[in-house]
């Protein structure tokens, strides 16, 4: 018998005697599942962490919105006041005033107060240039009357807010 033939025969017999241990299947399967998870993007643990981060990313800004500036209701944003010579700090002061008003007034009162303030601010913004200088002459007579009216209507609210002596 030639060595070629004998080698073939020999290796075939040796191979027949070699059996893949059945336990190996579980291991290869485990690795396979790991591969599938990896392929689907991420492992379950990673998925959970990412979901957590995503949830936090959504919740934090909405929580911030819930506690958003009352002043934003009036001005839109702090950018408005900055365009009229105001600063972030001024905005904070206004915000504090509004928060104070909210705590002192009833819900209905506060609603009216906010509405009136909004109108007042609209008018005031109109007459204030980008350096914060007032030009009352810019208003029409009608508007000037409106401004006075608003001021007088707001007066009792201001008293209530600032007047700690008569609650």
């Amino acid at each position: 018998m030639s060595i070629d033939k004998e080698l073939r025969e020999e290796l075939r017999q040796a191979a027949d005697a070699l059996h893949c241990p059945p336990g190996l299947y579980g291991r290869v399967r485990h690795s396979y599942q790991h591969y599938v998870n990896e392929k689907r993007g991420r492992s379950p643990m990673k998925k959970r962490i990412l979901a957590g981060i995503a949830a936090a990313a959504i919740l934090i800004p909405s929580a911030a919105f819930a506690a958003s500036y009352l002043a934003d209701d009036i001005f839109g944003s702090s950018a408005t006041i900055e365009q009229h010579g105001g600063t972030q700090e001024d905005y904070q002061v206004i915000e504090e005033g509004l928060q104070k008003a909210k705590s002192k007034l009833t819900e209905d009162e506060f609603k009216t107060y906010m509405e009136l303030s909004k109108q007042l601010v609209q008018l005031k913004l109109k007459i204030t240039d980008e350096n914060g200088v007032r030009h009352e002459e810019k208003l029409t007579e009608e508007e000037q009357q409106q401004l006075e009216q608003l001021a007088s209507r707001l007066a009792p609210y201001f008293e209530k807010i600032n007047g700690t002596s008569n609650p």
Binding site: S2, Q13, V28, Q33, Y35
Partner: protein, 187 residues
Amino acid sequence: MNDKELLPWLEKATLGDESAFQLVYQATHQDVYRTVAFLVYNKQDIEDIVNEVYMRIWRSFHTYDPSRPFRYWLHGIIVRQVQDWKRKAWRRIRLFERNRQMTCEQFEWTDKAILQSETQHELISLIRQLSYKLRVVVILRYFHDYSLEEIAEMLQIPVGTAKSRHHLALKELRKRYSLTGGDVYVH
């Protein structure tokens, strides 16, 4: 099931179909295990490598060229995984220790079955004693029936090198075989 029929299942398995995975494993595991076991002797190492081979199959299936035989691609993966395993330094230390053990105990057998066949078949033990470089050529040539050109491509060596390793391996085998009293024609 022939290899052509296996391909759609392989593709499904790589996409995450577990029943397809089972089918592919059933169709290939003996071949993979036996090939690795001819190249590496420690039972634990064989299992590690078989596991790595399957990981490689899933991960690299997109590189498989369907116009070529699947088994050739598979055996290429096996050979590369075995070589990777040999390259890793920490394993080399273990290998060193194992070699020392082997010289004491003559040989470490993967299976009782092998030990049994050993007493009957001297030639296989001679193959096992060949150096890895020669042995891999013998396994691919006589177990998987690849041509020397195919072997050279798979091992990424020049055809001349594959031929000389093949020649050297046979020379070694003939020499040792005649010493143990085998009746092989020396060409």
